[in-house]
Symmetry: C2
């Protein structure tokens, strides 16, 4: 999306409320926190992602003249409000968990402290950005755990929910530990390593497979991965063996073959034998085709000779849990802590911090959520990242975030690393926070 | 996304294959078709959407100088190929079902006929665009059917999978029969009617609900919908009754109240009584909060006094089926029909047309898929919409597409209108197509 339109990526009511706040002079400091209410089925943790895009959004937040013209024409907004919007910028503070951090339900991962209208106006897009990348990183981690070190490639763009989803899913998956993506735009924007093979259409456009394989290899000799399941997988593997000798004379190496359909375990075992027998022991097998973490896990644990996996739609759309039950809630206004008490949706009031305990074995033991200033043992997870609308540090590199994610995954205790539901991780509410909630309840 | 980046929204292998095609002079006419392999669980039909965005993409398809620079730097591409990319435009033809048309598995909804490299290069984004809006329109139809005429509003932006998903979901839902959206950008880009209420944070930022209600109503007097579930829903409804009298003296009408949590049926009944008893018989009740078509259906069939529904996340992400099992497959190259025979993924070869039979009761009876030129009784569904890269008609208005969608829904036979799985709709493969497939099989 172009930057001029970003400000209109907003629910109408944010503007309606901002108009009311401004008309009443309600511009004192507000504190909103973003958190997720509960884990999806079969999930044991979340991984935070998307902060960099949130901070860029906040830094660039403004309404263009075109935006104001549209709002004027849409009706319902006063000239005073539209004039105020023209010069409105985000001047608040942000505290947040870092991208790649593991977190659990009800733990705030982002806190916005800003004049009330600003903090309200950024709600929709902040949620939209954090929900999506956090959802994808949390999903992608599971494939990373299941693959046990084997490379994973994102192939999800074609069925991603739109352009930005494809782009940011590639980023979130890379942060979580994927090795690369097929998405060229993600390569261009984020310098994520690009991978690609060939499609069935390429084989079909040729009269036979050997001709197709020869053409793709000679046109792209630097990294040859041949798709061998268009007609008969094992017959194609035999053709690869014969072709490899001919290509070697031209200095071209067949790096790998791709399997995309049928019983992947059975085909991989047969193909591995054919390749090995033909002397192609270095030729790798890449598997794709509706893979998700469960299928990757089954193939890895079945000791199937697959060297790397392309995971697409299931990861990019987080197909088993395509949204997070997330919220961005007002926790304090003008120095007064607030709490939503709607049935089933109650929240903890005030500015909060999360402390994490790690055992002698360097694995997580438990977290404590408390109010800011109530210092606890352990590692505080929310860090001051933006002050008066400016980042306090440059964007970390994706490599740095990958390192953080890898360290976070290494800290997961064994039960949380499983794909199935484990006993819940301990997240305690500190007495200071319980007291604050009771105090707020007595006052409303 | 800016137009300069659209061409890089592509899987790497499209470029790799295009380089091979061009180096071999394989630029003869190719025919690709987009179709969906199967219905998601509990679904009885699809609704086509997204064609307008596909045609705009094809009309504007080009690689910018920046794109070429990136590809050059990424490596693997020859100077000859990069030079060819610079002037490459889409010069092909498109046949497609219209947006708002109902369709079924294996029926092509889009056919691209173009020189092979072009038809290949547009694959990723064409799939990305058609998959998403078709998925959302197909999902949104179900809420339209369940609501039985009550207005539906899209509230999905905050948990949409990225910016474009939020924008295009608003469009697809509007085509399918939603009344409007909260997404301001969708209002600006597509002139979709905007709706909004107020958030819990607005109530919490005030000292009490009456003050909050008064402020929002006086600041935005043209369309007042009050959120009444922040603390005690029925108590808030009583406050609304008292407030309504005061506001009426200022000429302000309370149009509605919104319920967002708890037992919506129970609250709606109690609130309706309170409002009616207070003389607010014209004040409407809007329900929101994790709604989907099943909850809408239950509320409508429970004769719960809810006048309109805001449906968000479940619709925007198509939560029960967050992608379609769609494909874009080569069906013919250089006059030779092709067929993919991969296990479980076989396709029908050749250029196809779909004919639809409608009974005397104006309800669908069955479809026939056949090869182009094999004229059948019934209504042909694929229409020539683009010739040599140019649209054959201007973009239809969204109102026109809504009309088409409404007519399509009206044609659905009763069993297909249910939310649960019906007996499959009859889609026959014509003898001419079966023969062609056999012929292709004999030749490969």
């Amino acid at each position: 999306m172009t930057s001029t339109s970003d400000a209109l990526l907003i629910d109408l009511y944010e503007l309606t409320m901002a108009q009311a706040y401004l008309s009443q002079g309600m511009t004192e400091e507000a504190v909103f926190e973003f958190f997720v209410r509960k884990l999806p089925p079969r999930r044991n943790f979340f991984m935070a992602a998307g902060l960099d895009q949130v901070l860029s959004y906040l830094e660039g937040f403004h309404f263009s003249d075109e935006d104001i013209d549209y709002l004027n024409q849409a009706g319902g907004f006063t000239p005073a409000f539209l004039t105020a919007l023209k010069t409105l910028r985000f001047t608040g503070d942000v505290h947040a968990m870092r991208e790649g951090d593991i977190f659990f339900p009800h733990e705030p991962i982002l806190r916005v402290t800003a004049p009330l209208p600003q903090a309200q106006l950024v709600e929709t897009r902040v949620m939209n950005l954090l929900n999506f990348q956090t959802m994808v990183a949390s999903k992608a981690c599971r494939s990373v755990l299941a693959a046990e070190g084997r490379p994973l490639i994102d192939f999800g763009l074609r069925r991603a929910q739109g352009a930005e989803a494809g782009l940011l899913a590639a980023r979130a998956a890379y942060v979580a530990g994927f090795t690369g993506t097929s998405n060229v735009l993600a390569g261009a924007r984020f310098a994520i390593p690009l991978y690609g093979t060939m499609a069935h259409s390429f084989v079909q456009a040729h009269h036979d497979e050997v001709q197709a394989f020869t053409h793709i290899a000679t046109a792209n000799p630097h990294h040859v991965v041949l798709l061998i399941d268009t007609y008969d997988t094992e017959a194609a593997a035999e053709k690869v063996v014969i072709l490899a000798g001919r290509l070697r004379q031209q200095g071209i190496i067949i790096h790998g073959v791709r399997l995309d359909s049928g019983d992947l375990a059975d085909h991989a075992r047969k193909v591995r034998k054919i390749l090995d027998r033909g002397g192609l022991t270095e030729t790798r097998i890449l598997a794709s085709g509706n893979l998700d973490e469960d299928r990757v896990h089954a193939l890895v644990h079945g000791q199937v000779p697959i060297d790397s996996f392309a995971v697409g739609t299931a990861m990019t759309t987080s197909a088993d849990a395509p949204f997070l039950d997330c919220a961005y809630k007002l926790q304090e206004y003008a120095g007064r802590p607030c709490r939503k008490r709607s049935e089933g949706k109650a929240t903890w009031p005030g500015r909060k911090q999360v402390y994490r305990h790690v055992g002698a074995d360097r694995r997580l033991i438990g977290d404590v959520i408390t109010i800011e200033g109530d210092h606890q043992h352990g590692r505080p997870l929310l860090v001051h990242v933006m002050e008066t609308g400016q980042r306090l540090a440059p964007s970390p590199s994706l490599e740095e975030l990958r390192g953080r994610a890898m360290a976070s995954i290494a800290e997961l205790p064994e039960p949380l690393r499983q794909l199935n539901l484990a006993d819940p991780y301990e997240v305690r509410i500190a007495p200071a926070l319980v007291e604050l909630a009771q105090k707020v309840d007595r006052q409303t």
